[in-house]
């Protein structure tokens, strides 16, 4: 973690809310994108990632300023998104293995940098994957995590990481092939 972050987070731990602003601004884009992939819903992403920042603030005194902030925040965000998915499942509007995005809805924001038609199509295909597949694609391709790190984060064996990631990619290929790409 860079020195600036450490100073800001130490000020946060001392109760300085203003010091939390630059931290939130720095990670907001990544946080919203992550929430979008975990929830499969761009419209809920901002709200969920903001809720996670609020939880992070409430627990900021338990954060070790010698470690990087984002992985710690990311674990909180993941739990916020999981809770929301569970609530959705209880309301029977969506299950844990089903996204609820309507791919035909063009008003959905695509949260990608340097967009082009090919990337947009791929993004929409990713959003149509099931929640566990979206999560593993997020960890591997957006968070650049190794299999070992993914296995530790999800508490699953490395062999399962290998097979889940491969299945996710195969599902993506099928979706893209189905669209005639």
């Amino acid at each position: 973690m860079n020195e600036n972050d450490t100073v800001l987070l130490e000020r946060c731990q001392a109760g300085d809310k203003e010091a939390f602003g630059p931290i939130v601004r720095k990670y907001a884009g990544r946080a919203s994108g992550t929430a979008c992939l975990l929830l499969g819903c761009p419209h809920e992403a901002g709200d969920a990632s903001q809720e996670a920042f609020v939880r992070a603030w409430r627990n900021i005194r338990r954060f070790d300023t010698r470690s990087p902030f984002y992985p710690w925040y990311s674990a909180i965000l993941r739990n916020v998104c999981k809770s929301r998915l569970r609530r959705r499942a209880r309301r029977h509007t969506v299950t844990l293995t089903e996204g609820h995005r309507d791919p035909s809805n063009d008003s959905d924001p695509v949260m990608l940098a340097e967009r082009n038609e090919r990337k947009d199509r791929l993004w929409h295909a990713v959003m149509r994957l099931s929640a566990p597949f979206r999560e593993i694609i997020l960890m591997k391709h957006f968070q650049d995590m190794s299999y070992k790190e993914i296995a530790a984060a999800l508490d699953i064996p490395i062999g399962t990481v290998m097979s889940r990631l491969h299945s996710a990619r195969q599902a993506l290929r099928e979706t893209l092939a189905g669209e005639g790409s």
């Binding site: 919203s32 901002g46 903001q50 809720e51 739990n79 990608l112 967009r115 791929l122 993004w123 491969h166």
Partner: protein, 149 residues
Amino acid sequence: MSCHEFDRMASAYLDGELADEERRRFEEHLAACDACTRELAELKRLTEDLNMMRFKEPGDEELQRYWSGVYNRLERSIGWILLSVGVILTLCYGAFRIIEEMIRDPAISGVLKVGVCALIAGLVVLFVSLLRERLVVRKVDRYSREVER
């Protein structure tokens, strides 16, 4: 190595996650099987596309709005806590005074007194039970462990 086994390992190969011996066997099969070579090329193209994807960074205005949203929630959470404490204290005091007045009033029948007391006792038991459940859930919730990382 069979084509099925090859397929199972293809993603790990592209991600550089195979052990030396597995990679050697994988590459041996690759050199001998055209179908698997084509399959791997397609998967590689997809993997490269996925690796190119990055989240966009919001603009200054959007970031300001985002931070305002977080800041407002932080402030409101203190407000909600104070409001909840106030409501609980006021209700407890009100309930206490009502019970006190009722017990002293001889015009109110004993059955009604018992009924109101049972009602209030029931509410207290439910409140304590919910509170206990929340605390127990929090104790076993992975979230509470993860924030300690």
